[in-house]
């Protein structure tokens, strides 16, 4: 995204500043909101030259390839689905955690570095016509899993 170190530093500061003592919940919400708006904008820009998507899976593939490469300079390592609207995106070397730890240290701080990305995914999906809930889970850094549940309307 533009210049990666700049994005990384800004993201880190945002996460750190918004999720201060006792304001964790509020901060996570705000971060996700920012991510949502950025995701909307990015999906607009990245898809303007593309043919329209066939189905849900096509959209998720777009997220894993184009969106992820634009923002994190790599593809999602693994995409799994139960074919009922639940998807699991796994990134084994998640850019925003790769400088923090490669084990369990700082694990309790991980959620604030994932909220923006959850919003990003949600925003991109929303702009392409899918309402979703996105949650993230980390057991060992820097590997992260994002669970996307598409809401059927």
């Amino acid at each position: 995204m533009a210049d990666s170190p700049l994005f990384q530093a800004l993201h880190m500061e945002m996460a750190h500043a918004l999720c201060g003592e006792g304001e964790q919940e509020k901060g996570l919400g705000a971060l996700e909101g920012v991510g949502f708006r950025v995701g909307q904008g990015l999906s607009e820009r990245l898809t303007k030259e593309m043919p329209s998507f066939k189905d849900e899976l096509d959209v998720l593939k777009f997220l894993c390839k184009d969106l992820w490469i634009t923002v994190f300079k790599k593809q999602v390592d693994n995409l799994r689905t139960n074919h009922q609207g639940t998807y699991m995106l796994q990134d084994n070397q998640f850019l925003l955690l790769s400088q923090l730890s490669n084990g369990k240290q700082y694990l309790e701080e991980a959620p604030k570095f994932l909220a923006f990305t959850c919003g990003l995914v949600k925003g991109a999906l929303s702009n392409l016509g899918f309402d979703s809930t996105v949650t993230a889970e980390v057991t060992v850094m820097p590997s992260s899993k994002f669970q996307v549940v598409i809401q059927k309307s």
């Binding site: 530093a9 880190m12 500061e13 400088q99 923090l100 730890s101 084990g103 240290q105 701080e109």
Partner: protein, 145 residues
Amino acid sequence: MTVHNLYLFDRNGICLHYGEWHRKKQAGISMEEEFKLMYGMLFSMRSFVGKMSPVDMKDGFLAFQTSKYKLHYYETPSGLKVVMNTDLGVGNIRDVLHQIYSNIYVEFVVKNPLCSLSEPIQSELFRAKLDSFIRGLPFFSARAG
């Protein structure tokens, strides 16, 4: 050839990190005192070298050696000091000290918002990366020398 130990100091003289590999003799004082002593010596050495130099210097104090070991010194414009003790067989390792700063300190401490600067470094990832980097150096092994 051998790497004995390594100190990282910040601009205010706080020892951010200390690592030890082949150190046969301890100073016999507490680590805290040793860091202060070390920093004081480096500080004096720097100003001494600066004042005594008969010409304008670019790099300033680079290294000194005794009959048994060699101390390598590298300082960044931001005041971070990387100090490594090796045996006498090791030549100029400015690039190595610079790599410790740019590839390890900047990457895993500066870019980690959970590490507060100007405090001893707690990050396990930083320690692991530094240790494996030092162990990978061509002049690390004690046997070769």
